[in-house]
Symmetry: C3
Subunit: 321 residues, 3 copies
């Protein structure tokens, strides 16, 4: 089952596979992107006083990548970092929402490994429509464990909001140019559940190392989300913390720089998808309020599926013409 | 991309395409049906003191049909009115549930156009089982915007019910024969979110112009839903307002007069599907109560899928025998 | 349509088909298993003072099996008992959660028949991925009727929990060895919504008659669920009543003794799936708390799909090697 050649070659590839796993959270099959992301995560987590988030991220990506080797999933996926990107997000989410108990860490390990299983199955499901499961394995598996934390005291839900009926919020935040730049960068950093503008700069740099298009669209995505959320008068404090940005950022990179061709039509398509993702973010926040469940990157998945599902039939004009 | 021939032919077809879009809400590829429906909508909306619903319907069908031309979706669908029926419902729903702000109207335009995108993708999904997405693009996209209205003050959710735990309701309503006829006609008019028995007559007339079978099944659907909802002692005021009828009406037309053959077995099938749709209506009302979200025509979609999904394998006896 | 040969052969097969339907709840195509299960159900229901549950089970399996004949679904499925297993669970669930009214019984009959329709359609859906709908027809159809009971007074939801926000629970229960054995057996009996350790013994015996592997994995499933739920400090009273066991038992039989090959890897796979099912159970309990809806065997379906969906691509090592 595990011959020596497989093991020794796996050990050699392992560090690169792990780094690429971190980069794949924003669709970059690039080791340096992953390393810059990881630096940003550690910087942001320590600055914000939540260092466990960074260590969780590291544990998560290691475990889910290892799971890929142990399950002997196709090597090509692993080499592209596709085993690790869900795990790293699980690792960020657990210490962000749950108290620091032994059982939280065991749950983090189980959930990270589970995303590798779930991704294999969900991609099997979505491949019928030439779609990917994106970060939905992370979203779905983490939802399971965060919801169970409402009933299992071994997972103390100390940093999760209380279940309540959805309601609008008033709030006054500073709106100077410098403030807006901070909010805009936080939209980027929240992709890894971190609220730190410095971290956002690291993420932009990590993207630019791999693809200037991806960096550009990430920047556009966060800016569009700020604009839409402010114009529609959303919850100001959440917007300032970047909580309406992260899904929009991912949708913008996915539609603008990853799965569509590069044309004016595609660019308009990507901006529409990003705008709709901001409304989906608000909608899911409201829907999950009575359970006190965070949306994670669910809005990105739904928004991107919505705009790629028809695309594969009628979009992609350059390829056909 | 947009040559002159395409534009000039599109302009000629446009009014008919729009009218058919309104007719397709009840599965009728017929311009006159659409015109009678539109008259009914305007009559009902003005009588009930909510004229914006009628104007919203007009904007919605225009925008979503235009979106079909702009996206250059297959012409044949457009000619049958399949771009417009989701948009007209979006246009009815926005002013029904949200306050009259500029952002509500911009949201209405975005959401109407989005249904054309969503329909193309969802039909791609459902075509694997020879099913259609029915009005689910309307339902899904409108859910997004209505839910976001809980958090985005730009969409004032002034006409949406408060989020609350589901609970039974007592209520006394007159039960004379004339009253029952009014409730029965309101079940029809609520397909377009209008509470007006006169409007219900226009809808029956519109259906009869295109297909007496469709008119008959719409009438049966509303009658069955009244019977079931009263026998199981549902919320009397809601029943009187037609809120347990509209989805059942659509299921009855779909199963009785559109997607099944005409036989006694199919008729029984359609009535069973209609009965189940009434329970799905109550179930979804209860499920969405904590979010304060209306079901829209979701119960019709679920009920009809449930009864068509097996049918394509073992039903349709006349075609095979 | 119904010739004499079909009717007379159906009448002969009917008792066996019904008994196998009961056995198929735990994947056993075996008449004696079904008979032992039914004895266990009657014993447990009468001991626990809820005899209607047993009679409901009998009505449910009869109606849903009859529906299979009437709809003339493929005979082979019927002979294996695949028409009845959802109906028997519907029959257990209705008197467990709803008050004893005429309308409850009519609802039970409608819902039981509906599961046969729904199963045919859902299997059509899931067959694209070589999956089965498992007990999801029961789960989905019963959810509809239980949710509608919140609004339709004809279904008095007297034994359903009140809708509330999810919250942790404290509780002290005896933890002697004998107590644990009782909890462990209740996890088995709750597959049919019965809280009775004697009933659990009948179920183990029924499984052993057909397959010692299935009996073993059922026993493992209940033990694993106890362990996980206690270690993570879940709601003690619910755990003692077997409410964290029944879905895990079904996942364990499905993955350990039914749909995977027999190897060490499969065994580990089955145990992982069982552990995850316990967390899904807690998650769904929390998710449905605001609607006051029981999960039924939904966690089993989700857990098993999650672990079979990838399996069909890369698992099943013995077949390929």
């Amino acid at each position: 089952m595990f011959d020596k050649v497989y093991i020794s070659s796996s050990i050699k590839e392992f560090p690169r596979t792990v780094a690429r796993g971190i980069g794949q959270v924003m669709f970059q099959d690039n080791m340096w992107t992953g390393i810059l992301f990881l630096i940003g995560i550690f910087w942001g987590a320590y600055m914000e006083g939540s260092p466990l988030v960074a260590w969780g991220a590291l544990v998560g990506v290691l475990v889910s990548t290892l799971a890929g080797y142990i399950l002997r999933l196709p090597d090509q996926n692993g080499a592209q970092g596709l085993w690790g990107f869900n795990g790293v997000l699980v690792g960020c989410a657990f210490p962000t929402f749950l108290g620091n108990t032994l059982w939280m860490w065991i749950g983090l390990v189980i959930c990270s490994a589970l995303t590798t299983v779930a991704r294999s199955g969900m991609d099997n499901f979505f491949s019928r429509w030439k779609l990917s499961s994106f970060t939905f394995p992370f979203v779905f598996c983490t939802w399971i464990f965060l919801l169970s934390a409402r009933l299992f005291n071994g997972f103390p839900p100390v940093f999760m909001g209380s279940p309540e009926f959805p309601h609008g919020a008033e709030g006054v935040i500073p709106m100077g140019f410098g403030d807006l730049v901070v909010y805009w960068l936080r939209g980027l950093s929240q992709v890894f559940l971190i609220k730190s503008w410095v971290c956002g700069i690291f993420f932009l740099a990590g993207l630019a190392v791999s693809s200037w298009r991806a960096a550009l669209w990430a920047a556009i995505g966060s800016a569009v989300s700020l604009l839409i959320a402010f114009v529609w008068d959303g919850p100001a404090v959440d917007i300032a913390n970047g909580l309406y940005g992260f899904s929009a950022v991912l949708t913008a990179i996915a539609l603008g720089a990853t799965f569509c061709n590069f044309s004016w039509r595609s660019a308009i398509w990507a901006i529409l998808g990003t705008i709709v993702t901001v409304f989906i973010q608000a909608a899911m926040n409201a829907f999950f309020a009575p359970m006190g469940l965070p949306t994670l990157t669910g809005p990105f998945c739904i928004g991107t599926w919505l705009f790629l599902l028809p695309a594969y039939k009628f979009f992609q004009p350059d390829e056909k013409n």
